[in-house]
């Protein structure tokens, strides 16, 4: 008996030792390989075929979802680096960097509403970088000071349970203005825009489309129809699928169409205007893997990887930022995209959210 106990203790201690060791082996740097990569800010000449090799070093990524693992793996394989990622909301990223005394927790920030990226730029958390092929990207989606770049657009639509609406004798809404109709009271679910980048995009888009005054009036009416706001980005989709609500405000991407197909629901692009929000990508200042992150952005912008990204994100061609990249054909009417002012995404955020919170207090 004692022997067995001993064995277990031995096991325990060997594990401790293992853990102890694994603590001490982070990011062994291979000097000399990467220096030339460091000083190519402003260097847009294509010098590819100089195969990059990061000697197995690690790039840490904070991202919005685990779905990009395929892209990260492809990159890691190409440049001989390890990619570790953690999914996290953009608000949390900023709060943690601030709480941890300003040192970023990762090298690359991949995805999330652009407003947070603008805030991070203002706080001096980001590293400047001009990627290769930047000239092939719509200039609206690249920061004028080269601190961030968009990786694509999230567009906002409705996920509708038509069967349920029919049961209640209601028709399918096709416009934002429909949603404010009192007959949909209690049937609509949306997430708190402070938490969900998509829903922040919806609020911002509505304000840009209708104008501040009309926009807030509309949101007030819409608020009457919404019993509570989800505290997670996925709430609207999930609760509409579960049959808890008839209409959810969701990101209209391939995943939503798939979910709709699977559950007999429908995704609708609002006819009076489709709000959208660019998803940011940026490099954190001061991380150990800044050079790898730079290489990643170049990698990401290459045509074949843009295509992979469109696939992983489930985006329509109209949602991509590089010209000529073909995504899914989801039938997104490009002309219905609302004329939005990108520059105010960050600067107006606090105002919008404060006002929004007053309007919806207690929900």
């Amino acid at each position: 008996m004692k022997k067995r106990l001993l064995l277990i203790m031995l096991l325990v201690f060997s594990m401790i030792i293992y853990a102890g060791c694994s603590k001490e082996t982070p990011d062994v740097t291979d000097p000399g390989v990467t220096d030339e990569q460091n000083n190519d800010i402003g260097n847009e000449v294509e010098e590819t075929e100089d195969r990059l090799d990061f000697g197995g070093r690690t790039m840490n990524v904070v991202t919005t979802s685990e779905k990009y693992v395929e892209l990260f793996d492809a990159f890691g394989k190409e440049v001989n680096a390890k990619v570790e990622f953690l999914s996290m909301s953009s608000g949390e990223v900023i709060a943690r960097i601030e709480a941890e005394g300003g040192k970023p927790m990762a090298d690359l920030w991949f995805g999330g509403g652009l407003d947070a990226f603008m805030a991070a730029k203002d706080s001096g958390l980001l590293e400047q970088y001009v990627p290769k092929e930047v000239d092939k990207i719509d200039s609206r989606f690249v920061d004028s000071d080269n601190y961030w770049i968009a990786k694509g657009l999230t567009v906002v639509g409705f996920l509708v349970n038509e069967e349920y609406l029919q049961e209640k004798g209601l028709e399918t809404p096709t416009k934002w203005t429909d949603l404010a109709d009192p007959k949909y009271k209690g049937e609509i679910i949306m997430s708190n825009p402070a938490i969900s980048g998509t829903n922040y995009g919806a609020v911002k888009g509505i304000l840009d489309m209708m104008g501040e005054e009309e926009g807030w009036k509309y949101l007030e009416k819409l608020n009457e129809n919404i019993p509570f706001y989800g505290k997670r980005g996925k709430d609207p989709e999930e609760k509409t699928v579960a049959g808890e609500f008839a209409i959810g405000i969701v990101p209209a991407d391939k995943a939503s169409f798939d979910v709709a197909e699977k559950n007999n629901l429908r995704v609708i692009y609002p006819e009076d205007g489709i709000p959208w929000v660019p998803e940011g990508v940026a490099i954190f200042k001061g991380g150990d893997g800044v050079d790898i992150a730079k290489a990643f952005i170049d990698f990401m912008l290459r045509d074949e990887n843009q295509k992979l990204l469109a696939e992983l994100d489930g985006k329509d061609s109209a949602q991509m930022i590089k010209e000529g990249i073909e995504g899914y054909d989801l039938g997104l009417p490009k002309d219905k995209l609302i004329e939005q002012d990108i520059s105010t995404f960050g600067s107006m955020r606090e105002n919008i959210l404060t006002k929004w919170e007053e309007l919806t207090k207690g929900k």
Binding site: A19, P26, S89, E100, A242, G243, K262
Partner: protein, 556 residues
């Protein structure tokens, strides 16, 4: 060694003994100071850091973060309300389950205990995961079976999920207490022909008062601290814990989160002081350890007990069936079908995080038990004066919400000389000290069985403190140590609140991945992961129970 002179030899050995005693004394004080330092640095300091963040900004006292109390007092009210109802319900159900053990066979009791154990090893938020599927507006039970369309969100949603989650631990506490107290009173009442109702209500329940109070207060604290259930099923019903969490992830406002955590702390500390009072009563009452099975006639209040108890167990079983089925099925246009796809899809999510979780949890289990033993030795057995204070401080992680403790670690260890953020160490330390209070509790309650007279006589014979610790207290606390290891392991495997803000890209833990999956709505894969976590925890509990049982048989 060449000296042969007898007297010299004796003198020498006395000198040696003195010298040895001196080294031992030094080691003793060093051990004491080291343990004290650990508690101060890794419990008190992070704890105070949160207060600091809430109260000071720009170098002076600033109470502006507390203004939310004026505008958002409903948060405080909601938290108190839901915590009170949850505590009441989960204690009532636990009491029913506890009393039920008087009427069932040994075998049935084992089955009940196993089902209870199952909930204790599950991650806390999986209750909310199944709740909507079963009881939602379109839920399997509410709509398909009962043909109801009720609103599952809000106060009652939170209360149901928390009650389901917390009752098990309460019931195990109460059953343990019932097992330990003297049954002679019941036997004599029975021989006096007292009926079941009056035995239960007039004798058993009053005797259980301290234990009932302990489980009520425990559930109250846990409910106050729970942020995940209200977040998923609270609807428009917001609580302080949830709002504090959201202040971080949505607003990036850590001073506000800290202020809310501080407010949350006030009722919890009051409740905790009351709790410690009852806990002492409970410990002093539970002296009798004779196993005896008492049977009573099944009449009177028994029926009420049975209905409550069975209802609860049925509810639990349905929940676990739901998780299990959801791991193996999928839906297409309303048709449910069997599949292994969820398991296949879960593999990339499991990767290293599971092994990392298991290793971290083992380390946390071992060290929190060892530190717990040393602390308990000095404070409980040696009755050290300052050690009592230390004992109180080391209870803090238990009272505060997990997010509070996690935030404290970030604020405290983000700068040199103790810059730990981003390391594996900070997560492990957090797990160790978060579990410490529970370890101290279990170890101290096993120490109640150590005869103080034996220790005193050893002392009179000149045994040094350190030897008493190593050769007497340590082996005698085996049962406590094993229990504390198992508890700490399970809690570390299933905890989320305290580590959610500490995890870095390369250091994900299994619960974090699970929480992420639940948050992003991948319930199917989440169910698979839940099943794996449950299996790991169950195996470890059963294994350690086995080992302990055998080794304790060997000892006796």
């Amino acid at each position: 060694m060449g000296i042969r002179n007898k007297t010299l030899k004796v003198m020498n050995s006395i000198k040696l003994m003195n010298k040895e005693k001196k080294t031992l004394d030094i080691m003793n004080s060093l051990l004491k100071i080291f343990t004290a330092l650990l508690v101060i640095v890794f419990v008190l300091y992070p704890f105070l850091s949160v207060f600091g963040k809430a109260l000071y900004s720009d170098g002076r006292t600033n109470l502006s973060e507390f203004q939310f109390i004026k505008g958002e007092f409903y948060l405080v009210k909601n938290s108190l309300l839901s915590a009170s109802i949850t505590a009441l319900l989960s204690t009532t159900f636990a009491l029913a389950l506890g009393l039920m053990t008087f009427f069932v066979s040994e075998r049935q009791k084992k089955i009940i205990m196993f089902i209870l154990l199952l909930t204790m090893v599950s991650p806390p938020f999986i209750g909310s995961l199944t709740y909507i599927e079963l009881f939602g507006r379109n839920g399997f039970i509410t709509r398909d079976i009962l043909k109801l369309s009720i609103n599952p969100y809000g106060l009652w949603g939170i209360v149901s999920v928390q009650t389901l989650g917390f009752t098990s631990l309460n019931a195990v506490l109460l059953i343990g207490y019932l097992d330990s107290f003297d049954k002679t009173m019941i036997e004599s009442a029975k021989s006096l022909k007292a009926n079941t109702t009056s035995i239960l209500l007039d004798i058993v329940v009053p005797l259980m008062k301290p234990a009932i109070a302990v489980s009520f207060l425990l559930s109250f604290i846990r409910s106050m601290a729970d942020f995940s259930s209200p977040m998923i099923i609270g609807g428009a019903f917001n609580t302080l814990a949830t709002e504090a969490y959201l202040s971080i992830i949505a607003k990036g406002n850590s001073p506000r989160a800290s202020a809310m955590s501080v407010i949350l702390f006030i009722p919890s500390i009051i409740v905790f002081i009351v709790y410690s009072h009852f806990l002492k009563q409970q410990q002093s009452a539970s002296k009798n350890l004779r196993e005896s099975q008492t049977r009573m006639k099944k009449s009177g209040v028994y029926h009420l007990v049975k209905i409550l108890g069975l209802f609860f167990i049925l509810w639990l079983i349905i929940q676990y069936l739901a998780i299990f089925t959801s791991a193996f099925t999928d839906k297409y246009k309303g048709e449910i079908y069997f599949t292994f796809d969820n398991i296949k899809d879960s593999i990339p999510h499991i990767r290293d995080s599971f092994i990392r979780s298991i290793i971290y949890s083992i380390i946390a289990g071992v060290f929190s038990s060892l530190i717990g033993l040393i602390l308990s030795f000095y404070s409980y057995i040696m009755k050290g004066k300052y050690m009592k204070i230390l004992d109180f401080i080391s209870n803090m992680p238990y009272i505060v919400p997990g997010t509070f403790f996690g935030l404290g670690y970030i604020f405290a260890f983000n700068k040199s000389p103790l810059k730990l953020t981003g390391t594996a160490l900070i997560v492990i330390l957090n797990l160790i000290f978060r579990q410490l209070p529970m370890s101290i509790r279990t170890i101290q309650s096993s120490m109640t069985q150590i005869e103080r007279a034996t220790l005193n006589s050893a002392k009179d014979l000149g045994a040094h403190n350190l030897y008493i610790l190593k050769d007497m207290v340590f082996p005698m606390s085996y049962s406590g140590l094993f229990l504390s290891f198992t508890n700490a392991f399970i809690s570390s495997m299933t905890t989320i609140g305290s580590i959610i803000f500490l995890v870095y890209p390369s250091r994900k833990l299994a619960t974090f991945v699970l929480f992420d999956l639940v948050s992003s709505g991948k319930y199917k894969i989440a169910s698979v992961l839940s099943c794996i976590i449950i299996i790991v925890c169950l195996s470890v509990s059963l294994l350690s129970y086995r080992i302990f049982n055998r080794s304790s048989k060997n000892v006796s």
